[in-house]
Symmetry: C2
Subunit: 195 residues, 2 copies
Amino acid sequence: MDKNRSSGVDIGLIHYPVINKIGETIGSAVTNLDIHDIARAAKTYGIDDYYIVTPYEDQRQLVTEICDHWLTGHGAGYNPARKQALELVTIMESVEKLITRVTQKRGQMPLLVTTSATVEEKTLSYGACRRKIKADVPLLLFFGTAHGLDQSVVRRADYILPPITGGTGYNHLSVRSAVSIILDRLMGRTNDHAE
Amino acid sequence: MDKNRSSGVDIGLIHYPVINKIGETIGSAVTNLDIHDIARAAKTYGIDDYYIVTPYEDQRQLVTEICDHWLTGHGAGYNPARKQALELVTIMESVEKLITRVTQKRGQMPLLVTTSATVEEKTLSYGACRRKIKADVPLLLFFGTAHGLDQSVVRRADYILPPITGGTGYNHLSVRSAVSIILDRLMGRTNDHAE
C-alpha cells in the first residue's frame, strides 16, 4: 500500500453502549493504553482515522488531554513516533454521530463491520473482508470495550467478523490484542503470514 | 490443537538486558498490562508457560503480588478467566536461568527465537516457524520491552522473526500488540486468515 494513500478503513473504539459481565448495557471508562496501543496498531496498518466514542464529557476531556501531551506538549518532542500515531485519534460522542461523520467524509455510507467474541449471524470471513478493503469499499470497524458491544450496535452492523480463536477454547483477549490481531489479519502483508 | 496437549512453545518477556531510546543497555520496569494482556494472548494460543524475566527483586515481588491477587485473592473468584491466564506466569531472574529451566523442562535445548523491529540475519519466516511448531520442535520465544532486546540476547538466538509491517513504514507497535500478532501468525487457526 502506498503510504500516502487512504486505506478507506476507519476504526471506532466504543465505550457506550457496551455490556458488563452480566450482560447489562453500560458505559465503560476510557483506558489510557487503549488510546496508545490501538493508535500505534492503526498507524502501523494504515488506518485512516481512529475514533474513540464516549458520551461522557469528562472522559472526552481526559482523552483530549492525553493526546495533547503527545501532539503538542512535552511528549511531541520526546517521542515523535507516538505523535504520528495519536494524530489518528478523533473523539466522538456517539455511534450515531460517528457513522454520520464517516459517511460525510467518504461521500457514502461505509460498510459497518463489528467483531464478536461469539459466533453470530452476518458473519464475514477475514479473507472476504480483506478483499472488500482491497476493492476500496469504505469500511468502519467497531470494537467494543468492557465485555463487548451492546446488541443495538451489533444489529446495526452489515457484517460480523468471526471470534479470534487459538484452538484452545479460551476466548478472553484484551481489546488491545484483538484490534492488533484483526488489523494484521485484514491489512498485514499476506506474505508475512505464509513464507 | 488438543486443549490438554502441550504446544511445546514458551514465551519470555525480557526486562533486562534491553535497550533504551539511544541504544544503551538498561533494565526496564514491569508494566501491569504486559502481565495481563500477554498472559491472555498466551492462554488463547496454547502457550505452555509465560516467563517474565527481571533481575530486580522489587519488580519480581510486584509481579508476584499482582498475580496472587488474581490467582488466590479476590480476583480469582471475580474473574476465573483471568486466573486461568495468569496461571501461565512464572517469574525468572535472568535469561540464562530461563534457558536452563526450559531446557530441563523439555529434556532438550529449545530453539531460541527472538523478534526484531529491524531486519536481521538468521531470519526465520513466520511460515517456517509455524512448521517447526507443528513438528513439535520445542521453542522459546523472547520478546523485548523498552526499545527492544539487547544484542547479547539477539546473538544467542537461533532464529529471528521478521519485523511486523503493515505496508506503511511505521514500525512502533507496543510489545503487547506485537506478541498478540506474532502468536496469531504462528499458532492461530490457518483458516481464520484465509477464507
